[in-house]
Symmetry: C2
Subunit: 504 residues, 2 copies
C-alpha cells in the first residue's frame, strides 16, 4: 500500500510511541525486580521481561517498519538535516539498522553465554582465579567480535561495540582525548601521592544514623532539582537511576551507617542522572528527542552534580551548617577539614571506590585493554599481566590478586565491551560543560553558597536536556562550548582544586 | 488453514499463557500504582495499563481465537466433561463469549462514565447529598442494563451482572440462601443487641506501636502459611492482595497505632487471599486451572483465616501469650476479656467496619436492593428510603444521613453491580468448608492452639486451591461438603460462638 512520506512519518512515530509505552512497562518491572520483588518471582519476571522485549523487537524490526522508514526518508522534511524531524529519522534509521543487523540466533547466544559467564565470573572472582574465568571470557569476546561484524564498521571492530553505548564515537576520537588526558593526569596523581598532606578520614568514617542520612540526602537532592513528585528514593545493594517514563524517574542508594559519603554522593550522582531524565521533553515521549544522547552524556550529568557541584566549597558553604545541625559527628569539625576529607585522593585498586582524580585512570586502563584486545594486539590470556603493569605505571600500585585486579568488574562477563569509556567521557563532558556554565554565569558559586542551584539546572535543561537525541554527543559539546571535546577543562579543574588541597 | 483439535487446543493454551504473562505485567504495574508510584506518573501509568489491556483484549477476542476454540471443542478430550482439558475449554469458551459480546463502544462508555461517576460520588458522599449523585448513578445503571443485554441471560438481567463476579451463580440460587440466612440472622443480631454483656473495647483501643504491629502481623501471617519468599507486606490506604503470578503474591495493610485489630485482622484477611493465590498450581499457569474460582470462593479463604481461625479461642491460645509479650498494652489483660473484645458485635452503619455477625446483613441489604433495581421493581430515586428502612428492620438502626447510608460504598459509582453478594457468599462458603474440615480433622483446634496451622492449609490446598477453576463454586461446595450451599453451617457457628459470648 503506497503511503506518503508524511503519513509514513506519522505512523512511524505512532508505532514507536506505543513501543515506548511498552518499554516503560518493562521499566517498572525492572525497577521492581531490583527493589521489591520477592525472590520466588525471579522466574516469572524473566518471562515477563522476555515477552515484552520480544514483542518490542518483533514489531520494531518488522518489514513494515523498514518500509515506513524508507518512505519517510523521502519526505521534504529531510532536506533540513538540522530539523527535529530529520533528527528523529536519523535516530530511528540508526536503531532500525542496528536491530535488524543482529541475527536472532546471535542475540540469544549472547544472552545465554553472558548469563553463564556472569556466574563463572562471580565464582572466579571469589576464588581470585582468572584461569577459571578465561574460557568463558574468550567465548564472550568471540561473540562480541561476531556482533561487531554483524553491525559492520568503518575502521575497526571495537568501533561497532563502542557505538552501542556512545553513538557516533570511535576508537580514534576517544583514543586521542584519552591519550592527552593520561599524559596530564598520571603526573598529577603521582604528585598527589607524593604530597605529605592527608585529610583526616575519621571525620567521614563515624556514626551517621541511616534515617538522618536519608533525610539529609533527600533534602540535598530536592535542593539541586530532583522532583520527588515524579520520583522516589529507595534502597538497593547497587544504586541506580531508572528513567521509566516522563513523570516517573526513580533513584536508589545504599546507606553505610559508618560512612557519611557513600550514600550522600551516591544520591547526588543518581539525582544528576534523574534530573537529566526529568528534563527530557515529555511532550516528545516516543521519539528519540525525549531520550538521552548517550551513556557518556548521561554520566556527565551525574558526575557534575556529584563532584563538580557536590564536592565543591560553594555547595558545602550552604550545606555544611545543615550537616553539622543534622549529624552530631560533625560537631566541632572545621569546614576545611570536612572539605578535605570528602575530597581525599588516593590511588586504589577498586574502580567503584575511586576518587574524582584517580577514577579516570581506572577507566583509561580498561579502555586501552579492550581496544587492543579487539584490535588483536593482545590475547585474553594476557589480561592479568597487562592490567597489573598498567596499574603500576598509571597509579603506582600493583593488585595483590586478580579479584582486586582484572576480575573486579562484572562488565566483561556481561558482554559490555565498549561501556567503560563512557564513564571517563562523562567526566570530560561534565568538566567542559561546567566550565562553560561558569563562564556564562560567573556568580554560580555565589548562588550555590546561598543554596540556589536553579541557574545551573535551568542551563542544563536549556542546553542539553531539552534536546534529547537531537544532536550527537560530539555535536552537543561543540554547540555548547564552541570546541571539540578536550581533556583541558577537566585537567584545569583538577589541578586547581587538588593543587590547593595537596599544596602542589 | 485446517488444524486438528489437539493442535488447536495446544495453540489456544500457548496464546492464553502468553496473555497471562502480559496480564501479570499489568499486575505488577497495578500493584506499583497503589504502593510506590510517584503521583507524576499517573498519566503514563494509565497509558501503560490501557495499552496492555488493549493488547490482551485484541488478541483474545480475535477471530483466530474463535476458530481455535471451535476447532478444539471437537476434540475427543471433550467427551469426558469432567476432565481437565474439558474444564479448560469450558472456561475459555465462557471468557471468549463474554469478551466478544461486549461492544467496544460500550466498554469505553462504561470506563468513561464510571470514571466520572466515581468523582461525583466522592463529592456527593462528602456533601451527604444523594441527589447530587443520582443522575450519574442512573447513567451507570443504564449502561449496566445494556451490558446485561449484551451478555444475554436466561431469567433476568441481574443474573448476567452477578456472573461477572460469581460465575454460574444466579439471582434465584443466591436469593434462596440469603432469604434463609436473613430469617435466621436478624433475630440473632437483635438478641445480641439486647444482651447486657459488652466487652471492654479499651483493651484493643490502646497503644500498639506500628513497628511491633508489623512484626507481630508478619509472624502470624507466616505461621498460617503465607510464604514471604513469594510475597511481601506493604502499607496502603486501602488494603489488598495482588496475585500477580505464581511466585509473586503481595499483600498490604494499614496500621492504626491506637487499635490492635484493624491491621492484624486485615493482615489475616489478605493472607487468606494470598495463601489461596500461592496454592494455585503454578505448573498450570496460563490456563483457568491456575485461576481462582470466583470472588466468593476467594473471599471464603480470606474470611476463614481472618474470622473462623483468626478470631477463635484456639488461635489465641497460641498467639495471645506472644501478643502479651509484644504489646505492653496487653499486660494484665485476661485472655477471656481480650477474646471478647476482638469478637465485639454491634449493629453499625459502615459495612467495612462491621463485625463477623452483622457484616452479612449489610450485604443482604445491598443484594436485595440491586436485585429489585435491575428487576425494575424499584427506582434509583428510592434508594435512600429503601436503604434506611432495611437498616432499621435488619439492624435496628437508621443512618443519620446518606454518607453513612447508601452513599458509603464506591461500588455503584464504579459499576460493580452484582459484586456485593460475593462477600456474604464468601462467609457462607467459608463456614461450610470449615465445618467439613473440622469434621474430617477433629483435632484442628488442638493443632491451632499449638501454633500448627498446616493441616488446615494443606486441606485447603488439596480440596480447593489445587483445582483452580476446574469446578464452579457450586460444584466445589457439593464435592467437598456433599451438600449444596446452605446458611446452616454459618448460623450454627455464629449461634454457638456468640451465644456463649453474649449469654444467649
Amino acid at each position: 500500500m503506497p503511503t506518503s512520506p508524511d503519513n509514513a512519518y506519522d505512523e512511524l512515530v505512532a508505532i514507536r510511541t506505543e513501543l515506548s509505552v511498552l518499554n516503560s512497562c518493562a521499566g517498572v518491572l525492572g525497577w521492581d525486580e531490583r527493589t521489591n520483588m520477592p525472590k520466588g518471582a525471579a522466574d516469572i519476571r524473566s518471562q515477563q521481561l522476555a515477552l515484552l522485549s520480544g514483542m518490542i523487537h518483533e514489531k520494531f524490526t518488522s518489514p513494515h517498519m523498514g518500509e515506513l522508514i524508507s518512505t519517510a526518508e523521502n519526505g521534504d522534511f529531510m532536506k533540513d538535516a538540522d530539523s527535529e524531524k530529520a533528527a528523529i529519522m536519523r535516530e530511528i534509521r540508526r536503531e532500525y539498522d542496528k536491530s535488524v543487523k543482529l541475527p536472532k540466533e546471535l542475540v540469544e547466544e549472547l544472552a545465554r553465554v553472558t548469563s553463564l559467564a556472569q556466574g563463572v565470573w562471580a565464582e572466579a572472582r571469589a576464588k581470585k582465579d582468572f584461569a577459571m574465568f578465561l574460557p568463558k571470557l574468550k567465548e564472550v569476546i568471540n561473540l562480541k567480535h561476531r556482533q561487531a561484524e554483524a553491525y559492520g564498521y568503518q575502521t575497526e571492530p571495537y568501533d561497532a561495540l563502542i557505538d552501542d553505548y556512545e553513538p557516533y564515537a570511535t576508537v580514534k576520537s576517544i583514543s586521542e582525548v584519552f591519550a592527552k588526558l593520561r599524559a596530564s593526569l598520571v603526573p598529577l596523581v603521582h604528585a598527589i601521592a607524593d604530597s605529605k598532606r592527608r585529610p583526616n578520614m575519621k571525620i567521614v568514617e563515624n556514626d551517621f544514623p541511616v534515617d538522618l542520612q536519608e533525610k539529609f540526602g533527600k533534602a540535598a537532592s530536592a535542593a539541586i532539582g530532583y522532583d520527588f513528585d515524579s520520583g522516589r528514593l529507595d534502597v538497593t545493594t547497587h544504586p541506580f537511576c531508572s528513567g521509566i517514563a516522563p513523570g516517573d524517574v526513580r533513584i536508589t542508594t545504599r546507606y553505610n551507617p559508618r560512612h557519611f559519603g557513600e550514600a550522600f554522593f551516591g544520591i547526588m550522582h543518581e539525582s544528576g542522572h534523574a534530573i537529566y531524565e526529568q528534563g527530557l521533553p515529555a511532550e516528545k515521549f516516543g521519539t528519540p528527542l525525549q531520550e538521552a544522547v548517550s551513556l557518556g552524556i548521561h554520566e556527565s550529568q551525574s558526575r557534575m552534580w556529584e563532584n563538580l557541584v557536590g564536592r565543591s566549597r560553594a555547595f558545602w558553604t550552604h550545606f555544611y551548617p545543615k550537616a553539622q545541625a543534622t549529624f552530631s559527628s560533625f560537631k566541632g569539625v572545621a569546614f576545611d577539614d570536612f572539605y578535605f576529607a570528602i575530597n581525599n585522593v588516593e590511588p586504589s585498586f577498586i574502580r567503584v571506590e575511586a576518587d574524582e582524580v584517580t577514577y579516570n585512570l581506572h577507566i583509561l586502563i580498561r579502555f586501552e585493554i579492550e581496544r587492543d584486545l579487539f584490535a588483536g594486539k593482545i590475547k585474553a590470556e594476557e589480561l592479568p599481566g597487562l592490567w597489573n603493569a598498567k596499574y603500576k605505571e598509571y597509579l603506582g600500585i600493583v593488585p595483590k590478586n586478580d579479584a582486586e585486579g582484572c576480575l573486579q568488574d562484572i562488565h566483561w562477563s556481561a558482554g559490555l565491551f565498549g561501556y567503560f569509556a563512557t564513564y571517563a567521557l562523562g567526566n570530560l563532558y561534565a568538566s567542559q560543560f561546567f566550565a562553560k556554565a561558569k563562564e556564562e554565569m560567573p556568580d554560580l558559586d555565589k548562588k550555590f553558597a546561598a543554596g540556589d542551584f536553579s541557574d545551573l539546572k535551568n542551563w542544563l535543561r536549556k542546553n542539553i536536556h531539552s534536546y534529547g537525541k537531537r544532536y550527537s554527543a560530539e555535536q552537543l559539546v561543540k554547540r555548547i562550548t564552541g570546541k571539540p571535546l578536550s581533556h583541558e577543562p577537566m585537567m584545569s579543574y583538577l589541578k586547581t582544586k587538588f593543587g590547593e588541597l595537596y599544596g602542589l
